[in-house]
Symmetry: C2
Subunit: 197 residues, 2 copies
């Protein structure tokens, strides 16, 4: 490519770093954007700028919204006494799409991992323990992946909460599976069949 | 998702429309961007805005650059007398990456298609015929896909250029390709174009 394409090369390189995209799909995506400059490229630039300036993590649960406290944490309807603990915001979105859970969330921001030296303080675990003291919580539902790190994290959290009802999603979540890959029906079935740890 | 996520939903919806992305990969990509706001999201917004305001099609060949005439058309080194005709800018980039072609290009912007009612005037074919009159062209290389529409387009262009040397890329087994993965048409073409060793 020639030197009047520096901006283009830069855009392709940035796109190619997104998860799920590689150089080839980034080039295709960028050509598509340029062909649809008014319908795709400029609206995307504007949407990214907007999200980049407004998006923030909820100080209570770690969900992404535009305010210090997200809509789910603010809504009295969601004060069911249940907190669903997830690894990631993508998992929270997957739960919300299944529409079966009516309570609030807590986004850990990952799982405990000896290998990656991720301990409780690297995650939103201290804040979870605070919430359980302050909010009127009847049940903590651990909706963590059926991976070794996910289950280690689940047991660690359960150990920190003596006297609190702690449940986890039923097996039905495939071994090694991540929540975000599951269809709504599987999530619904796994939630309905949840068991006490 | 809740109503303080309108900007986020909008960004995900726009990303999901890009070729190669769907709703799930768009959500993953957007979460990744937000986590890497300074390294990914804001630079992407800026790069898109820049490309959106500077990118334009070369008036001569249809390549994408930032000037009315692209670097390849402007470079005297590329005046080899050869024009390589491609369907799309992505194909031009693929040729440039192979570094084997030293001449100039002509980007048709698609192929003739009876089904989609795309005739010569919907493509950059009239401009190609003009260039062959004006530029000092010794050979037109048709690097079009081995599809029915691609080959129809190749034959149409060859018919418009009596007295001009018109060639096309050889069809055959891709380098590193295993026969077992190829469709019958490719194997047939490769067999018909077989050469003595
Ligand atoms: Zn929240
Ligand atoms: Zn050009």
């Amino acid at each position: 490519m020639s030197n009047d394409t520096d901006d283009l090369d830069n855009l392709i390189a940035l796109m190619a770093k997104l998860p799920g995209l590689g150089p080839r799909s980034a080039r295709r995506a960028v050509l598509h954007m340029i062909k649809k400059r008014g319908l795709v490229l400029l609206p995307l630039a504007e949407a990214m700028h907007r999200v980049g300036t407004t998006a923030r993590e909820c100080l209570n649960c770690g969900n992404i919204g535009t305010k210090d406290i997200c809509d789910i944490c603010e809504s009295p309807k969601r004060a069911t006494g249940e907190i669903c603990v997830v690894e990631d915001v993508a998992d929270l979105w997957a739960m919300e799409r299944s529409q079966v859970f009516k309570g609030r969330y807590h986004v850990l921001g990952g799982t405990l991992s000896a290998l990656d030296a991720i301990g409780p303080d690297e995650l939103r675990i201290p804040k979870l323990l605070d919430r359980i003291k302050v909010e009127d919580i009847s049940e903590v539902i651990l909706a963590l992946g059926a991976t070794i790190d996910g289950q280690t994290t689940a047991h660690y959290i359960a150990d920190q909460l003596p006297g609190v009802k702690v449940t986890s999603l039923a097996q039905g979540v495939p071994v090694g599976g991540e929540l975000d890959y599951l269809d709504d029906g599987t999530i619904t079935a796994a939630l309905n069949a949840r068991k006490a740890l």
